[in-house]
């Protein structure tokens, strides 16, 4: 066994090298110690959004091998199926080579190559004109963007409110549901306590976010014998190794969770002291139906929420730790009747409408199972509580000798998020965690710094005036509204943003609504735009709902023959489906050729034990005329003379992205990277820019990580040492406790506005929708599509799951990953298949109220009986991603998005809303209802709809017929190889 201390996730005695790891005498001439590379460069993976540390072994300038960085806090040496196939992504034949200018009709893929100077001139002229006249006519939407603190800041300085990344399509229900409830969220802002949890409850498909930490964690749970319960209609991926799989009906998770809450309340299995200390359970809610402040918190003259102090028999500021707060009862304070918010919560969920037997049928989960799970949760939380021998002091100054924990952890992701009731469902899950006292305690679900933040975090979305010529926005385009006054609507209540985010149709749209942009821009609703600029957003294919119609909108013209969306600028590293729809293409680099920062200002990669950030740096040089998009954006900013991008003399402030990463300060002393700040690199968090910062990152393996002291690692919402640290680092403005908002006052403010109170009220047509969906306590309602379509005609749910070896659309260009899956099937449960006389390989039409798509069947057992599913984004468009004419991806693979509407069916007034959550605007693509129809023999063999093959970009060599990658690395009999293939 190696003498060195074992590092990394796979360091069990059974995973280490041999006791004497040197070649035995065998005499067979095998070279057992070939040279691997000339150098090892440590950077950050980009094969998905997990952002693991990687060691890139380089040989003669070629990538020989990529493995996980053992010191990296995200992946600790392991690397998933995608990351381990990074070589093939880097050398993909679909890589763009040079800027392209459209020559044929939009969508044809006919381009000519141009020089960067010309490309930048075209883009600058176009954008400059927009900025001088009406900056909102630039809609800037990015996709799987890991640089949103730059791209959003650029949009703000340009002066357009029309900016977002793809979070509105992906996961804003999770982010907003968490941030408005506990000041953190699943995935990027929190994680299970894998080391200490005894019970793990996983909701929905989570195989993509995040990748390796969850897998490492599941391995730990298994090795410790913790129980793992998965709640998912499909028994695939992680569900396969769950100790118990609950095959729930899609869109009913909220109901299931509320039934668990019902059971726990009924039995008194809730952590009452925890609720009193860390939540707004004791805050008094005004009970005065019809009044303008009904349902709001009772506050004192300083605006502090009040609680009822049972000792003094009087109302008192709730944040005073000395009081004995009432959580139940009805009190009169200054003539106002009020009740603790917990009283309302308990009344709500103790109602028999949430009893297991009342929800069982809708959830497809037996009432006995719900009761048993609730009993198990109660047992583990209250009979198996744990205690770490670590002293800490809370914000009230109370020192505690140990850290007590209720070892139940939870995680949820897209299966919850992508439903139109996902926001409330996500809040319900956080409520369940909180009632059990499991948020940020040992064994529970933990915050990753810089979270927790106030619920919700402070900044409001900027751009209410719609943007003015040559004027930056007053802040960032995306933020958190807490009242109708914060909405981005005009005086008549009409949306300010092109995507209608932060309008009455989606008030809490914290990530924007990328999925509405193309339709709205095409329709000129609320106004026409001039230019749509996109980055890594494959909106002409898998990043849109209703893909066929979306493609048509991109090419539609007005009576004069002009495109209805006048100009499209697109940046991507690869020939994705969307490239063909651009007028100007700015080719990006691969992830191994660029600088990036994985910033705490953006989407952090911290660990619950401490904050961290990371960089990418070019470990190989591009062999094509391509430039990293962020550097291009910075150059555009300088050419446009955007404030912040130029010096006083008008010269460019930043040479490129690397220069920006080091020298940009968002606030004095706070920049994109937290590590090695200050002149000598001695400061963390705050400090002046350090010219040697990137070198320090590279020396440290590409990342910075600060390990919190043991006493700072839990109870972060009220841990004085942690909160002091958070202030010092600039995470929080003040070291005040983060109080979990089980009862949400911002939601009630919207409800009041719908009921006719306040200065800003919804248009009459929107009142009922706001009133019904802005309940201050989590509610459940049937997913919208289900409620609006004839469910007898469309009796089935259709959803997608994430193959762990593919990330969105990127995997199909990867010669290795596509060998694992180049065609997706429609997975159909055995009883359903029998009733429809379907067998493996049969072709079926998957028909919805929105459209239809054709695919091939695979019969399975492990699926909820009323659900069919397929792998996400395997189906591709012919000609895209460097694939040949006969590739399975576009001949037999299919894209379910063709059957998913971007609009809901008309409601009783004939209005068609976006197919989105009414609170956050999250795209509701898991709400899809379908029926299956077996194809006639003549219809079998090829998927539909089919589209004309895209022309490959100019001067791109056809993909090879044989790939012998690595042949040149081979070493024989001790002789080093010459050259590489």
């Amino acid at each position: 066994m190696s003498t060195a201390t074992a590092r990394g996730a796979n360091s069990a005695p059974t995973q280490r090298s041999l006791p004497h790891p040197h070649a035995p005498i065998e005499g067979d001439g095998v070279e057992t110690s070939p040279k691997i590379g000339d150098t090892v460069a440590k950077t950050t993976c980009y094969m998905c959004a997990c952002r693991c540390g990687i060691d890139v072994h380089l040989r003669d300038g070629k990538v020989r091998y990529i493995n996980g960085n053992k010191d990296h806090p995200v992946n600790r040496g392991v690397l998933c199926g995608k990351g381990s196939a990074g070589i093939m992504q880097h050398y993909s034949p679909a890589r763009l080579k040079k800027p392209l200018l459209r020559t044929g009709p939009r969508g044809s893929g006919e381009f000519r190559e141009i020089e960067w100077d010309e490309a930048m001139q075209i883009a600058t002229a176009r954008l400059d004109n927009i900025r001088r006249t009406d900056p909102k006519k630039l809609a800037f939407f990015t996709g799987r963007d890991q640089s949103q603190s730059l791209t959003g800041w650029w949009a703000s300085k340009f002066g357009t409110p029309n900016f977002a990344a793809h979070g509105g399509f992906c996961s804003v229900n999770m982010a907003a549901g968490g941030l408005y409830t506990v000041g953190g969220a699943f995935w990027e802002f929190g994680e299970p306590d894998w080391e200490n949890a005894k019970y793990f409850l996983l909701f929905g498909v989570a195989e993509d976010h995040d990748s390796n930490p969850i897998k490492i964690g599941l391995g730990k749970l298994k090795s410790r014998g913790a129980k793992f319960v998965s709640v998912n209609p499909c028994r695939t991926g992680y569900n396969a190794i769950a100790d118990e799989w609950i095959g729930i009906r899609p869109g009913t998770d909220g109901l299931f969770v509320m039934a668990l809450i019902h059971e726990l309340l009924r039995a008194g299995k809730i952590d009452v002291p925890y609720l009193a200390r860390y939540t707004n359970a004791s805050w008094l809610v005004i009970e005065d139906p019809g009044a303008a402040d009904h349902g709001l918190f009772l506050r004192d003259g300083d605006g502090k929420p009040l609680a009822w102090d049972k000792t003094a028999n009087a109302a008192h500021p709730a944040d005073d730790a000395e009081i004995a707060p009432a959580l139940a009862g009805s009190y009169e304070v200054n003539g106002r009747r009020c009740v603790p918010s917990f009283h309302l919560l308990a009344q709500r969920y103790l109602d028999k409408q949430y009893a297991p037997e009342a929800v069982a049928e809708r959830c497809g989960v037996p009432a006995d199972t719900i009761r048993r799970i609730a009993a198990e949760l109660a047992h583990v939380a209250f009979e198996q509580a744990i205690e770490l021998p670590v002293a800490w002091t809370d914000t009230a100054g109370r020192r505690q000798e140990t850290m007590r924990g209720r070892p139940i952890a939870m995680h949820a992701m897209r299966g919850i998020s992508a439903h139109s009731n996902g926001f409330h469902t996500c809040r319900a899950i956080h409520m369940l965690q909180t009632l059990l006292g499991t948020v940020d305690v040992p064994g529970g679900w933990r915050f990753k710094p810089p979270f927790p933040k106030p619920c919700p975090p402070g900044p409001k979305p900027a751009g209410k005036d719609g943007g003015r010529p040559m004027t930056p926005l007053s802040g960032m385009p995306l933020g958190f509204v807490t009242a109708p006054e914060d909405l981005l609507v005009d005086e008549a209540g009409n949306p300010v943003r092109i995507d209608k985010a932060y309008s009455w149709e989606a008030p809490l749209a914290a990530h924007g609504m990328m999925h509405t942009v193309i339709r709205n821009a095409w329709k000129g609703d609320p106004y026409p735009i001039d230019t749509l600029m996109m980055y890594m957003a494959n909106m002409a294919w898998n990043s849109s709902m209703n893909t066929s119609e979306t493609m048509a909108m991109l090419t539609d013209t007005d009576a004069a023959g002009n495109y209805k969306i006048p100009y499209i600028i697109y940046s991507d590293a690869y020939y994705s489906e969307t490239v063909a729809y651009a007028d100007l293409v700015l080719p990006d680099t691969t992830y191994l050729e660029r600088h990036d920062c994985i910033s705490l200002l953006d989407r952090p990669i911290s660990h619950a034990d401490g904050p961290g950030d990371a960089i990418r740096h070019p470990v190989v040089q591009p062999d094509r005329d391509v430039r990293p998009f962020q550097s291009v954006l910075i150059e555009l900013g300088a050419k446009l003379e955007l404030p912040g991008f130029v010096n006083e003399d008008g010269s460019a402030k930043y040479r490129d992205y690397a220069d920006y990463i080091v020298n940009h300060e968002r606030m004095p002393g706070i920049g994109p990277l937290a590590g090695w700040r200050g002149e000598n690199g001695g400061a963390s968090g705050r400090g002046t820019p350090n010219a040697g910062q990137l070198d320090r990152y590279i020396e440290n393996g590409g990342f910075w990580h600060h390990e919190l002291a043991p006493g700072e690692r839990y109870y972060k919402m009220a841990n004085r040492a942690y909160l002091d640290f958070a202030v010092e680092m600039g995470f929080l403005p003040k070291a005040e406790p983060v109080v979990f908002q089980l009862y949400s006052e911002p939601l009630q403010r919207f409800r009041l506005s719908a009921e006719g109170h306040g200065a800003v009220q919804p248009p009459d047509a929107e009142r009922a929708r706001i009133r019904d969906h802005f309940d201050p306590l989590p509610i459940w309602y049937p997913p919208f599509e289900q409620a609006l379509v004839d469910t007898d005609a469309f009796p089935l749910h259709a959803i997608t799951q994430r193959p762990m070896h593919m990330y969105h659309s990127w995997g199909s260009q990867n010669a290795w990953l596509r060998q694992i899956t180049s065609q997706n099937r429609l997975f159909v449960g055995r009883p359903l298949a029998a009733s429809l006389q379907l067998a493996d390989d049969d072709w079926v039409w998957i028909e919805s109220v929105n459209g239809r798509v054709k695919g091939q069947v695979r019969v399975v057992d492990g699926v909820e009986p009323n659900t069919v599913w397929t792998w996400n984004a395997i189906g591709k468009r012919n000609g895209a991603w460097g694939l040949k004419e006969d590739a399975g991806e576009h001949n037999r693979g299919f894209l379910l998005n063709h059957a998913i509407g971007d609009l809901l069916p008309p409601d009783e007034r004939g209005k068609r809303y976006s197919n989105s959550d009414p609170v956050t605007g999250q795209a509701a693509w898991f709400d899809l209802r379908v029926r299956l129809r077996k194809c006639a023999t003549a219809d079998c063999g090829l998927t539909e709809p089919r589209f004309e093959r895209l022309t490959p970009p100019p001067n791109v060599a056809p993909p090879p017929d044989v790939l012998s990658f690595g042949a040149g690395f081979k070493v024989r009999h001790g002789a080093d190889a010459e050259g590489v293939s």
């Binding site: 590092r7 990394g8 996730a9 796979n10 005695p13 059974t14 280490r16 090298s17 041999l18 790891p21 005498i25 095998v30 110690s33 691997i36 020989r64 091998y65 493995n67 996980g68 392991v78 995608k82 990351g83 381990s84 196939a85 019970y199 195989e207 897998k215 490492i216 599941l218 391995g219 298994k222 129980k227 028994r235 991926g237 190794i241 100790d243 118990e244 309340l265 009924r266 009452v272 707060p325 009432a326 959580l327 308990a346 009761r371 048993r372 009993a375 109660a378 047992h379 762990m804 290795w816 492990g862 006969d886 590739a887 044989v962 012998s964 690595g966 042949a967 690395f969 081979k970 070493v971």
Partner: protein, 244 residues
């Protein structure tokens, strides 16, 4: 035809935990990535971007469902060479290209001697052989013989690529011929199995079976939940809790 060593000094192999494997394919691609530039390089892919794509892989994961004790289950099953003690792929080889190392028990192919007759792939009941039609030789898992002793790697990294990459920690490596080795102890503890032992090839690799659902669900001795305050009401109970 090709003879086997009478005994091997070590029996190096893998132990794969089917109770933990989520089927993520990390072992599959990390193996491909290492080995396509390694001892048997390249692991050729044909029609890599077309409709008949195929390639040489030393390790593949199969996913299937089965029913056990009335309950269904999905199993992810990684499959690679088992480095048998009595491998038919070696004894059937007409040229001595397939051989089993006496030192560590690894079954290898000497490409210089391989004539591509494919007898070994017919003989192997586990489907572990991979023919490289472009190069014209048979290829297979080397147990990363060019990693596990590689003096150019840190000692801690001298493990097969699949073991290093596995994100759930479901793969283990060591000397299964030594009953005191950590892997042998793991196999004993978890009642690891050999695949199709009845065929008599005495595979070295072991699989740790998925625990039966009822057994593997750690027993939570949870009593059914009773109403907390059938008389006084829930809200009265809450008040009393905080008063304590």
């Amino acid at each position: 035809m090709t003879s086997l060593p009478a005994a091997t000094e070590k029996s190096l192999g893998l132990v794969i935990d089917l109770d933990t494997c989520v089927g993520c394919q990390a072992c599959v691609t990390s193996c491909k990535e290492w080995n396509t530039g390694g001892h048997m390089a390249p692991l050729t892919d044909t029609d890599p971007y077309g409709g008949t794509v195929d390639g040489v892989w030393f390790n593949r994961v199969h996913t299937y469902e089965h029913t056990c004790g009335g309950a269904g289950r999905t199993v992810h099953f990684p499959r690679s060479c088992l480095h048998c003690a009595e491998p038919a792929c070696v004894t059937v080889c007409p040229t001595g290209a397939s051989y089993k190392r006496a030192s560590d028990g690894i079954v290898l192919v000497d490409e210089d001697k391989c004539i591509g007759c494919k007898l070994c792939s017919w003989a192997c009941p586990y489907g572990a052989r991979e023919f490289d039609a472009i190069v014209g030789v048979m290829k297979k898992c080397t147990l990363c013989v060019d990693r596990i002793y590689n003096e150019n790697l840190r000692e801690e990294d001298r493990v097969p690529a699949c073991v290093a990459a596995c994100p759930t920690g479901a793969r283990h490596f060591g000397d299964l011929g030594d009953p005191t080795s950590p892997v042998s102890r793991l196999v004993e503890e978890r009642e690891g199995v050999a695949l199709m032992p009845e065929l008599g090839y005495r595979p070295t690799n072991r699989y740790l079976p998925p625990r039966a659902r009822t057994e593997r669900a750690p027993s939570i001795a949870a009593a059914p939940l009773e109403d907390v305050a059938p008389d006084g009401g829930f809200l009265g109970w809450v008040d009393r809790v905080l008063s304590r």
